[in-house]
Symmetry: D2
Subunit: 345 residues, 4 copies
């Protein structure tokens, strides 16, 4: 009954089985192994294009290795003010880029609007006093669980193209967005202009692996050097790749995301029915932001439910994961109902 | 029959079992889990001191996060000219330190002499035109498989102390050195002045984990920020820690290293008996550098034995690992014997 | 009749005379000359404290060398969203700090409020996912010509102290602010908590020199290394110092600033009397922001007056300098009056 | 009688006159002034090519802005082990490049041999574990006063071309080399493959200015951003350019260098005749390295002659400058003769 994050969960048994299976024989290190090769081919098939694939172990690594391959030290990266790269990575993008500037934008639900990029994407270009517009990074799904529609992604892509900006997508929860949208991975990425994707797996059933997918393969040589130089090239790469292979096999990643989203929906619908509870955002993926009165929040905590008080007060973030049991959701709802009723009395 | 490196091997079954065992329940992320806590206590016991312990996933990460916490951007890091940090990390130390300078020194077998540090450790200090002596990094065991004796480590430590230099040990193969020396881990590190150790596990039976051990805990706050900022803080930390726990449990790490060293010794002794073969260095751990005539080298390759031609010619590096079978060693020796005899004929 | 900036002007004749006078004899380089020594003593007298003084040649150098000596790579620097460091230095602060983050704040007239620092100065402290609050930089006078009062400076200083933040003042136009406020340099800086000041001279009558003044001398060793490493340590330092000596001698700096401010006042008062002209900010120093109808703006341009269209449209920035003739001001006013009248007709 | 360096001298009177003459009118800042334009045209004429010209104020700035525009963060820069960039810039190249590695080479008189570049210029190319060969920097004249012949420069250039390396020349004393060689500036730079030159003036009669000359103009956009971001773009650029204009006018730079070299020759020839004195290197420009017995060295110091003990002992560096009087040389020789005779007695 821990709703704090999708990173408090374990890994899917099939992912662990894949690790055990990978643990055979001596194989070439640093990604020259057959599993890594298969994962690349599998992701190329899923994304219907000849992309480059680089497994790394953390989401921060995926984001900053991609972004730094797309942004010079004097570049500006446009992103949302609540985005992970802006808020939760301790300045890793600045570090890896050699001091680029994150220009943060507002926007409902954690989404930035194409119009903002249209308006600012050329600011200061060619004027040495100003950082130079270089890249855009969007988060799919966003930190508030919202999902960019294909046309929204493409509109940002068009603005990037017009201004000569690189285009990155932080897809730490890409699977959750995908199953909501019911569109092809290709439609939601490179066909809409995205050039690099941080393809998340850790939160959705892996132990610790993400794939950086470069749709623009000209970025590859620099990316590979940055990965090594960042300490993110694994000698025993097979164990990252094996996680990804199991994650993709039989569409496990989609099944996991569907389950997480369904549990979030169940929770959200239950909360919507409770007087005194107020959902902060529409629930499109696996994150719920809900406001409850303090006695109910404190009561839930007392009863052992775990979640974040997002604002330090009564706005709760509840995250459903690939393995959240329906029973846990129902238990939370029952407790909330009881506590809210007691509070209202 | 792959002697290329100890990183082409798989992981010890007990390490994998530990991963499976760790895959239970929701636990706090980013190292706030019970396994991580236990690993810290275990390493504190092994090293007989209240050290700080940080699991990371690659040796490069371990080295550069430690070094950058000990060296300002204008610092000089003294190290051997063949050291991993100088040669094999694509400038990662320069990147993480913000541009420090590796001052490379010679020295037999990949070992640097305390006298060198004594002589150069104060050069340019306080003169703004020059980089400032900041740290020393030694490798135990070295890239050539040599081992620093306790008194050698301590002599470097004394030179560091005299010149106000930080002291780091790259212990990617610390276990192999330890079992050779038969001294306590404490004697070979902090009691000899070492302030930070990259404690390797990947090459010796893990999937991908090293521990940075800070004997000087004042380095901790900066280290923790650098780890996050470098993309090296794992959300599901339990899976790094579980590897380490199994690695340490029942002295598995020592048993693995003993086996690797024993296989290397068996191989070296066999080679020493073969006319036409010439060992380049004394074999103290699990690496062998041997010179053979080209027909023999080519013959071994043809027969499917794998190894590196270290100089691109006839100097071979052969690495024995925790799981190298005696039969593989014997097969190599038999083939070498036969090929050398044919060549001599 | 060029009102574009106070950096389009030449230098005061006395400053040039000082250069000629300094051009005698061989003297020690890198600041070990008697003129540099005298400048330090003079500024210590002016600021009534034992500060450290470092002449550098550009305002950007002054700001970023100071800030980078006060901010770790993972630090946050709070500053105004229109500040020179945030907007006009091409990311130099990010470069010199190794990737720190400028957290930009709003505030009337380019001034940030102490309350903002109080509210945000501790955010994320000790949490590795977030950049760490490290420093505050205010601009005196601001980019809009506004002046911080002593109590405002001190209030920010108190907030810095409470949160353990470093405190920097960009004083590219410090002289202009000083003569407006009629307080002692000490009161407006270190007595109010400021630890480092970029003390401008270039815009106010020098050829190209600013002094970084460190009120906290513990910053000195790191600053000196950063200055050299940044390429900002001059071998023939005497020529920077000679400019400063003449600039300070006989309070030339104050006379220059008084003149510039007086000319700005004359211009502002004239404009205030013209129907159709609208001053955007109160004029406290030597910068005027005024809105005129397009025909008047175009007319002024046609007649050879030079200024910036601040917003690319009809908001003009007019800057008065140490050598702006009253006649030029009057000519501008006469033309504006005529053009506005024609436009109104 | 100060032979410590050519940077302890003042500036040529004509350079100061040019500053005074430049001090007229308001002109556009940041290099958009007519003097800067004229200097570019003048240097294009001198170098017989359409090069880009950027005045900066220090030699370190010139070197590192040029090198960082030619070298990625993971690049290797080949240079001599005594070169200014390797030894005397406090790691500025590492800082500006974002952590590139200076690979230092030996070579007589401070010169590196083309054969070294041929041999090492491709090492590790494309292998992510190693820094990538990126650039070569030679110093003309070298730190020991030696001069690269045209064919030597061209041979290094050919090696650069073969390996795809960028080619930089640190010409802090370019004028001194030029007058020794009696070849055209074009022959000694771009016609021999040099792509960027740090063209020194400070040591040879200016107050503080060097020109970065980019023969490959594709480097320009990045260079301009790096210059600003490094704090090296002067608002009142006219005062840098005016120095250069006077320096070039009427071949003042060549006359100055000829004088310095002639004085060095006079000194060297005098020393060569003195028993007990031993010249360390052939004297090709304006630097002399001579070994004298300690009593003579101490005696010279006692009598007020100033110079560096290069090795901290009895190897003296004596530098002649554009304004060294013959009388000073003769006085030194007379004193040395007397002291050596006394010592021999």
């Amino acid at each position: 009954m821990d709703f704090r994050s999708d990173n408090v969960t374990g890994a899917h048994p099939k992912v662990l089985e894949a690790l055990v299976a990978a643990n055979r024989d001596a194989v070439s290190s640093y990604g020259e192994d057959p599993i890594s090769e298969r994962v690349t081919r599998k992701l190329q098939a899923i994304f219907e294009t000849d992309c480059a694939v680089f497994p790394v172990a953390t989401g921060t690594a995926a984001n900053v290795l991609a972004l730094s391959s797309m942004t010079p030290p004097w570049g500006a990266i446009f992103c949302h003010e609540v985005s992970h790269i802006a808020v939760d990575e301790c300045g890793a993008p600045e570090f890896f880029t050699g001091g680029a500037k994150l220009v943060t934008l507002g926007g409902k639900g954690g989404k930035i609007a194409a119009a903002e990029i249209e308006a600012r994407g050329g600011a200061g270009k060619g004027v040495v006093h100003h950082v130079q517009p270089a890249a855009v990074s969007i988060t799919q799904a966003t930190e508030f669980g919202a999902v960019y529609r294909q046309e929204e992604i493409a509109a940002v892509g068009a603005a990037c193209k017009r201004h000569g900006l690189r285009y990155h997508m932080d897809g730490a929860r890409f699977a959750n967005a995908l199953v909501t949208l019911n569109r092809s991975p290709a439609d939601l990425t490179w066909r809409a202009g995205v050039e690099a994707l941080s393809f998340g797996a850790t939160k959705n059933g892996a132990l610790g692996v993400e794939a950086v997918i470069l749709f623009d393969k000209t970025l590859t040589p620099e990316f590979e050097l940055r990965r090594k130089r960042g300490g993110h090239l694994f000698s025993k790469m097979r164990y990252l790749s094996a996680q990804l292979e199991a994650y993709l096999e039989g569409d496990l990643w989609l099944a996991n995301a569907r389950h997480a989203n369904a549990m979030a929906k169940r929770l959200a619908e239950g909360l919507a029915r409770l007087p005194g509870s107020q959902l902060e955002y529409e629930v499109e993926t696996n994150e719920i932001f809900v406001r409850l009165p303090e006695p109910a929040v404190a009561g839930l905590e007392r009863e052992g439910f775990r979640f974040y008080r997002w604002d330090g007060a009564q706005l709760l973030r509840l995250v459903a994961a690939w393995n959240t049991p329906a029973a846990a959701v129902d238990a939370f709802l029952a407790a909330a109902k009881r506590l809210l009723a007691a509070n209202a009395a």
